[in-house]
Amino acid sequence: MTDAALGTSASLAAAETLESSARRAWRRLMKRRGAVLGLTVIALFVLLTVFAPLIVPYDPVATSWSLVRKAPSMQHWFGTDELGRDVLARVVFGARASLLAGVISVGIALAVGVPLGLLAGYRGGFIDALISRVTDAMLACPFLILAIALAAFLGPSLGNAMIAIGVSATPIFIRLTRGQVMSVKVEDYVEAARAMGNPRWRIALVHILPNILPALLVQATLSIAAAIIAEAALSFLGLGQQPPAPSWGSMLNAAQRFLTTAPWMAVWPGLAIFLVVLSFNLVGDGLRDALDPKAR
């Protein structure tokens, strides 16, 4: 048998065990009420963002001077804001910015953090020391303060906020991946793959990466929750989604100015952030339990 054939059969075997362990994890996840609830709420919000124009009859940016700060009513379930816009429409359309920001910024953090963590953990030596010290340096700057500083220097926009949050979340993934790689690379099967003469990149991608995916998945889910709060925070400060486009954070900023006359403006966007973040946290906690090898 040639090297290539051996490699293929090894990766096929890896894919099969991965598939079955993924199925097992899914089954265990579905047994957790909290996680199922979280997944349901997330699915509902995703449907809301996709079908937003079909669900709400109002334009989220259409202003109306005759409807300024009207309390919730049959026409406007969540009331209207300081420019006469429908709050429900803005909450529904605002979900797009929040969910996108959560997923894309964590995607950035994964795309940058995982390869660097693999490199540091697998190669060791000088490269590891260099990457680790840069990671330490980034972790020394509090997450949101780093994100604010980056967003400020990049300029206020939703795209830049996602980049700023993604970069600020990267060191967590570098450190996690590195630690996982260090513990996996001494396992027998990695040793065996090395003995068979596999190149280093192949061992890292085919033999190590699939085994550290569970830990990365849990962290990514919890990080989406943190990223959604961070996006809302940046938008609250005026560094994220720019007006008049709707975003939960900027809605809360406007709401604070009208707390005495229009408290409903503050209730709904905050509740929406809370529900989505809670759901991602529930799914993350459920995944951690479902994927924990010790609990099997």
Binding site: A140, I145, I148, A225, L237, L278
Partner: protein, 313 residues
């Protein structure tokens, strides 16, 4: 111990070097010529040239970095573009305000988080445990700026019990000071209480299964003594040091909390600086928080070794 300290300190130097590099390079993310940004409305080429020379912007970037680091090491973070004050005195002026709120928040976090964690571990599987876990989930998932707004609505707008915003120094009038800072401290401490609760719970669960707790029970000690004297003391050691590491969360949270309650602290300083394009202040604030964080991290590490006899040696 000495060995460990030396190693830990040696790691600190490259970390601080990269922190400074990171913060310095922020400035170069700015689109366009920094001298033009600093000049603001001013368009006179002579003035811009003067700015360029004054801030060494005409020099190569490594030289600019060297000048900046030299200044920082001598306590000179540059000058605020907005009010022409040295950044270091601005920081010295604002930091105590945040420290007061943060200190109170830590107290809130420990007072809620640790008892909740102990109770939920001791009464595992009961309604108490369930309730404490719900509280932790709520604390982690609630954006603190929303919580702040809702508390202002309840306690200031509706009930009129507490001032909605502002800050009074403790030395000036302690009653007014506490009244003004109780809501911000709760908002800030709430999320950390949730994190502490989760850690306390899992540490307690682990300790309650250990041999020495079983021995203590076998000796016929009351459950109260077993939990308070034997289990808790050992479970809490790592939690105390963990509290120090939550400082990052605290400083991040302070940015928004101070914004909502109009508290003239550290967090408000960085937000105002961001909007005034006062980049020297932004850099100074980030550098200061990073240095505080690294120092506390080191202290926490040392404290952890000091309280854990097995690691001493």
């Amino acid at each position: 111990m000495l060995n460990f300290l030396a190693k830990r300190l040696a790691q600190l130097i490259p970390t601080l070097f990269f922190v400074s590099l990171l913060i310095f390079s922020l400035q170069h993310l700015l689109p366009g010529d920094p001298a033009l940004v600093m000049a603001g409305e001013e368009r006179d080429p002579a003035v811009i040239e003067q700015i360029r020379q004054q801030y060494h912007l005409d020099q190569p970037i490594p030289v600019q970095y060297a000048y900046w680091v030299k200044g920082v090491l001598m306590g000179d973070f540059g000058e605020s573009l907005r009010n022409k004050m040295p950044v270091s005195s601005l920081i010295a002026q604002k930091l105590p305000v945040t420290m007061q709120i943060a200190g109170m928040a830590i107290v809130v976090a420990f007072l809620i988080g640790i008892p909740a964690g102990i109770i939920s571990a001791v009464k595992m599987g009961t309604a108490w445990d369930y309730g404490a876990n719900l509280f932790a989930l709520w604390g982690i998932s609630t954006p603190n700026f929303w919580l702040g707004i809702m508390l202002i609505f309840l306690f200031s707008v509706e009930l009129g019990w507490l001032p909605a915003s502002g800050y009074v120094p403790l030395s000036e009038n302690w009653r007014a000071s506490l009244a003004a800072s109780v809501m911000p401290a709760f908002v800030l401490g709430n999320a950390i209480a949730a994190i502490l609760m989760r850690h306390t719970r899992s540490a307690m669960l682990q300790v309650l299964e250990s041999d020495y707790v079983r021995t203590a029970r076998a000796k016929g000690l009351s459950e109260r003594t077993v939990i308070l004297k034997h289990a808790m003391r050992n479970a809490l050691t790592p939690i105390i040091t963990l509290g120090a590491l939550e400082l990052g969360t605290l400083l991040s949270g302070a940015v928004l909390t101070e914004q909502i309650f109009s508290i003239p602290g550290f967090g408000k300083l960085i937000v105002d600086a961001v909007f005034n394009r006062d980049y020297a202040v932004v850099q100074g604030v980030v550098l200061t928080t990073a240095t505080i964080y690294i120092t506390l991290n080191l202290i926490a590490d040392i404290a952890y070794i000091l309280v854990n006899p097995r690691l001493r040696g």
